[in-house]
Symmetry: C2
Subunit: 287 residues, 2 copies
């Protein structure tokens, strides 16, 4: 049983912790979070504000903080010899971030898996397999309808916003509309806040619509989905998921954590890892 | 450009040859087949009855002969230092056959990919990813409706059968009906032939129905499909394909051939290989 901590104790952190408790090969040995209070539902698990404050040094860490906070935390863990998996979700920044984490991983002589959520992550592996089978095809990834945890976290972090939920609506052929339900802080400037959302790199590439509401709670829903289409003439491959967003992210992070221990030192994306390495039980039932 | 041969020149052999010609990293340098006549559509490609009869020694071989003929051919190629990929399709025999080919691969200090069609093969990698993401789920693989090339080849090889087509009809939850359209040879015994089909290990696990026809040709159709369902409570993952059977098998074999060159010496199943290794161009567009 390998000793693993979870960094961050939000929806994904709790889902990853639950998945660790259900894994035959892992032991949840701590949380790292900003306030060192016990995590609801995991009251017996030690909590600290950083990894060195925990009673024992973990072998691995699952990082569930918002994407923009991941890198400094992960590189520090890696350089201290702690294996890691994160669910960093800014697609276009993945290759550069991986390059930097590669150095930290080599320094610590260990491995990490970068972008190990359901997209990027699981979907990336599926798309790679689809494309390998039909190299001339076009692949479209259609998300939702569902709440994007990454986009909601970014919207919430904007000055003047008290709470926010960002819903992803598929428009077909890989295009999306993002509907942001935002609660303004007192005295915040609507125009400025709206501009800040729309010009953030998380939102600027998509069609977006901001609606100011009294409460974002009615829009909070962890159900999500994806429809990946791969079309080449009369032939097609489709991958469809209807899932609970934090549950699946937590599960994928635990699989990635497991695989990290099996790779040569370095930083990996999920399509660079043999699918068998993600399994707790390495049987051949899925051949 | 790596020099590759195709062993077998049936539907899959021709599809693999076409896929090789379209690959930026491979050169089709010969066919090995029983009669050393040119292969229709590939008249300029050298043909021989065995690999040593070809003008040059290939670096890799794609083996497309019926499953039961694969192993002796593949082990000989491996022991002679030729990388290999096959589309052996008898699921339950895969682990044992891999073990034996592993020895041949180690002897030749090279690698091969075993069971590299669309199922086993591509679907195996998809199932493994699905299961890694939801370890407590149930996965059902539903084939067809469509013609099974493997089952048709086995039916055709039975004494007393002149020609045959085996159609797979999905009954749901991973159960299938196999409908075999068989043309009897003159003086063949219907009862004996039917018994031989139904007791073959390819057919004995499924519900089967044999119909004797004057010509199997009207039932010949290379379209096929699969629907893989992964269900866990309210959540689901589905993978759906509607494809041309030999085309997809040929493409997957070429991807597997490519990946074979990147692995440490040994015999591999597709889920044991990083999906990125199947790509001719190792970009990050599919992240």
């Amino acid at each position: 049983m390998k000793k693993i901590i979870v960094v961050g104790a939000g929806n994904i952190g709790k889902a990853a912790a639950k998945a660790l408790l259900e894994s035959p090969d892992f032991e949840l040995c701590g949380f790292v979070r900003q306030k060192s209070e016990p995590v609801t539902g995991f009251e017996k698990i030690p909590v600290a504000e950083n990894v060195f404050g925990l009673p024992e040094k973990p072998e691995g860490a699952i990082i569930t903080v918002p994407s923009r906070l991941v890198e400094p935390i992960e590189s520090k863990l890696l350089e201290n010899g702690i294996y890691a998996a994160d669910c960093f979700d800014i697609h276009e920044e993945l290759p550069k971030m991986r390059k930097r984490l590669q150095k930290s991983a080599e320094k610590g002589k260990i491995s990490c898996v970068v972008g190990a959520g359901w997209d990027p992550g699981l979907d990336s592996a599926i798309r790679t397999l689809m494309f390998s089978a039909f190299p001339e095809s076009k692949i479209y990834t259609n998300f939702g309808p569902g709440m994007s945890m990454g986009h909601s976290a970014v919207a919430k972090s904007i000055d003047g916003i008290a709470d926010a939920v960002s819903i992803t609506l598929p428009l077909g052929k890989g295009k999306h509309l993002r509907k942001i339900y935002a609660v303004l802080e007192k005295n915040a400037d609507k125009k400025a806040v709206e501009h800040a959302i729309l010009s953030d790199s998380y939102f600027e590439h998509d069609e977006c619509s901001v609606e100011f509401v009294d409460s974002a709670e009615p829009f909070f829903d962890t159900k999500h989905g994806v429809f990946i289409e791969n079309i080449f003439g009369n032939q097609k491959m489709n991958f469809l998921m209807e899932i609970d967003n934090p549950t699946l992210t937590g599960n994928v992070l635990v699989s990635a954590m497991r695989a990290a221990f099996l790779q040569k030192p370095g930083a990996y994306f999920m399509p660079e890892i043999p699918p068998f390495d993600f399994l707790a039980e390495k049987g051949f039932g899925y051949l």
